[in-house]
Symmetry: C2
Subunit: 419 residues, 2 copies
């Protein structure tokens, strides 16, 4: 279990990289630049430390966190484009945050006058062709199954869990998430389900083993599909679950339910109407569908560092944008639930497990990889706790299907549906 | 209680209006026009009867319903623009539907190739200035309190009820709806609530008496406000509830909760950002908000007859459009629930009570008024049962407010919150 705010106290490497001798001296204008960086952060209770060890405090308030620049270059880049370069310089070990990393990033997110770039003005086109999609997905999800095993739950679920009670373990919360999805879809034994973007295949196995449905699950990540197939075989579920190493655009046939957990953010908004046409084509008249995705409270540009370094091609939608999947078709939204506090809690668990496995991860890769992933997990946690990211579950059916429960109490009954 | 499909069997007036002698003869081309009208409806199991009593059946299937044209003019207008004139000719008594009126309209809504006019192409601008808003609202809501008393529940709630159990009485379901709204908002004693568009004031009184909050409720309908004030005084709630005969644009001050039930459809989409700015201005940092509104599953033009004859200026939004209230501001959607089956059930109750009071209503107004309102209630019921209309409840709070329950089980606990 992580502590309550997921804080990570981290000291910098003893010997920062690079030749410090040429950088040793500090000019007066460099102190002013540091103050400018801190002012741009809204002057939180943070002091700055320059490469000669000199500490600069912008205000008289005691500094809970120390921001250490090991190199002049790191300071200059932080000033030039903090959103893009701060993570890079941190990963490279040229910046350290001594104190609570998550809190520090939260403060940066919520600084006064934080820009909310409108998507329309700055949006890069996401031409997520099949080739491009494969390259993007390999970048992140094919890192190594062994790496993800070190800090995900035992089912390898790499999406927001559902903490019906925040004291739940991560394992229990991932099972609760899968049940929450299955209950929303009201899966019945013998039904056929298609899953778009199945990760390591946990939800498909859960639906088959607990709800008695047949599942076709799609994913373009080779490593994930290999793991999923192997595990389904070992668990005797390979008659009920078929994993397809294929894109969602390859979905054929008709199904009683469509489900997609954590894929939409990789689809790209300009491809939403096409995704909707695939859903519309594959759903039976009584079919139901659920999309679970990270999202935004308004159309905004996604964090550029995350997009450049972690999730190339990713684009979390605002709800108005998400609706463009469904609204061109005869599909009606029944239920939207925002689970952003659940993603914060999920990330607290992941970050705590990651820190516990940090030596092993460092040996597997290198220190830079560890710092990159720490910054990504801590930054994601801060994005949810500060409300800059949302997690939407959207349940829908066909307009003409009036087989809808009169209330949502069935989602909250213990021992309900399947389990 | 109404029957299960809300069907209304109705025989036409014995003596149709107008001079029948000139219209008595039927030409061969008029029979062909009648077949064309029935074909445009997708040839449902309906026969047509012309003014000379002649019956025309488009197919060999037995006709469950007979569509009677008392006048040539009614046939021609139905062909010219059925969406606009069919209701008019029915109200005028020149058309009768002998059989199940609701079922007949459902079939018309769901005819093959039913157009779904995109809003952008055909949308009339809704310049709902204060003056225009007042005129629109007087048109419908100031008809007469005595009229609405004849077929609404005892609290005079003229919006979708919540049938947590479909066997509930209308009275119980309207109370359940008010509780559902209050629980979603998590009202606490002593909080301040602002209500935009309060009808006859039932929700404001309910929030004050059951949840111990102070309410400022706004409405521009003079008759409704007079009724609401009088009733609050008689129930000893006038210290907690203040009814303002004023527009939502007159809302000042700050509140712990904003609620609006059944007003958004009268606001007009182009005024949504302005409504959002009022919500953003009036909500405290820990404030919550709820909008309950009729809606559409996609942006479409609203039924032209309803807009012209019943609800001038009305414009139900698709969810993507509804989001333009909130997305320009730092407000985040927490929960969306589609209650369209609840509005169908509400309308079944209203229609049954209306039919029970039809003699009294006829004496109060005239036969044309009775037929106009019957067609409106039956048509609205058909719009919900066929899925052409939706009912959205949207719960939201501020992006930076993480005081959100971990699950929605509190909405489904008996004896929860206030009651």
């Amino acid at each position: 279990m992580s502590d309550s705010n997921g804080g990570v106290a981290l000291a910098g490497p003893e010997t920062p990289p690079g030749d410090e001798s040429r950088n040793g001296h500090v000019y007066a204008w460099e102190r002013r630049l540091l103050k400018k960086v801190l002012a741009a952060l809204g002057n939180p209770p943070v002091s700055g430390i320059l490469w000669n060890g000199e500490e600069v405090r912008p205000t008289d308030r005691p500094a809970a966190t120390r921001l250490r620049f090991h190199r002049r270059k790191a300071l200059l880049k932080s000033l030039l484009d903090p959103e893009l370069y701060f993570g890079d310089e941190y990963a490279a070990g040229r910046i350290d945050i001594e104190g609570d990393l998550v809190r520090f990033i939260e403060q940066a997110f919520n600084r006064p006058g934080a820009p909310q770039d409108p998507r329309s003005a700055l949006r890069r086109r996401h031409r997520n062709s099949l080739t491009r999609s494969r390259a993007n997905i390999f970048h992140h999800y094919d890192v190594s199954n062994d790496f993800f095993k070190l800090w995900l739950d035992d089912q390898m679920v790499y999406t927001c869990a559902y903490f019906a009670d925040p004291a739940m373990s991560l394992e229990a919360a991932q099972v609760a998430k899968m049940d929450h999805v299955c209950r929303k879809l009201r899966l019945r034994p013998g039904e056929r389900v298609v899953e778009a973007g199945c990760g390591w295949g946990s939800l498909a196995r859960h639906m088959a083993s607990r709800y008695g449905v047949k599942v076709d699950a799609f994913n373009i990540s080779h490593e994930q599909i290999a793991y999923a197939r192997d595990r389904a075989r070992r668990e005797g579920l390979d008659r009920l679950v078929t994993y397809h190493e294929a894109d969602y655009r390859d979905i054929r046939g008709t199904y009683d339910a469509f489900v997609s957990v954590g894929m939409l953010e990789h689809v790209g908004i300009e491809n939403y109407a096409n995704l909707g046409s695939i859903i519309d084509r594959c759903l039976t008249p009584k079919g139901r569908g659920l999309i679970h995705t990270i999202g935004l409270h308004r159309p905004m540009r996604f964090n550029r560092w995350l997009e450049a370094r972690i999730f190339p091609g990713a684009e979390p939608p605002a709800l108005s944008e998400l609706m463009t999947v469904l609204e061109p078709y005869d599909l009606t939204v029944l239920d939207v639930e925002n689970l952003r506090n659940h993603y914060a809690q999920t990330l607290r668990h992941w970050l705590a497990r990651f820190e516990n496995a940090v030596e092993e991860i460092g040996a597997m890769f290198d220190e830079r990889f560890v710092r990159l992933w720490r910054f990504y997990l801590a930054g994601s946690l801060a994005a949810y706790t500060s409300g800059w990211m949302q997690l939407f579950q959207v349940l829908f059916n066909r307009r003409t299907n009036d087989d809808v429960p009169w209330n949502r109490a069935h989602l909250y009954q213990t021992n309900a549906g399947g389990t």
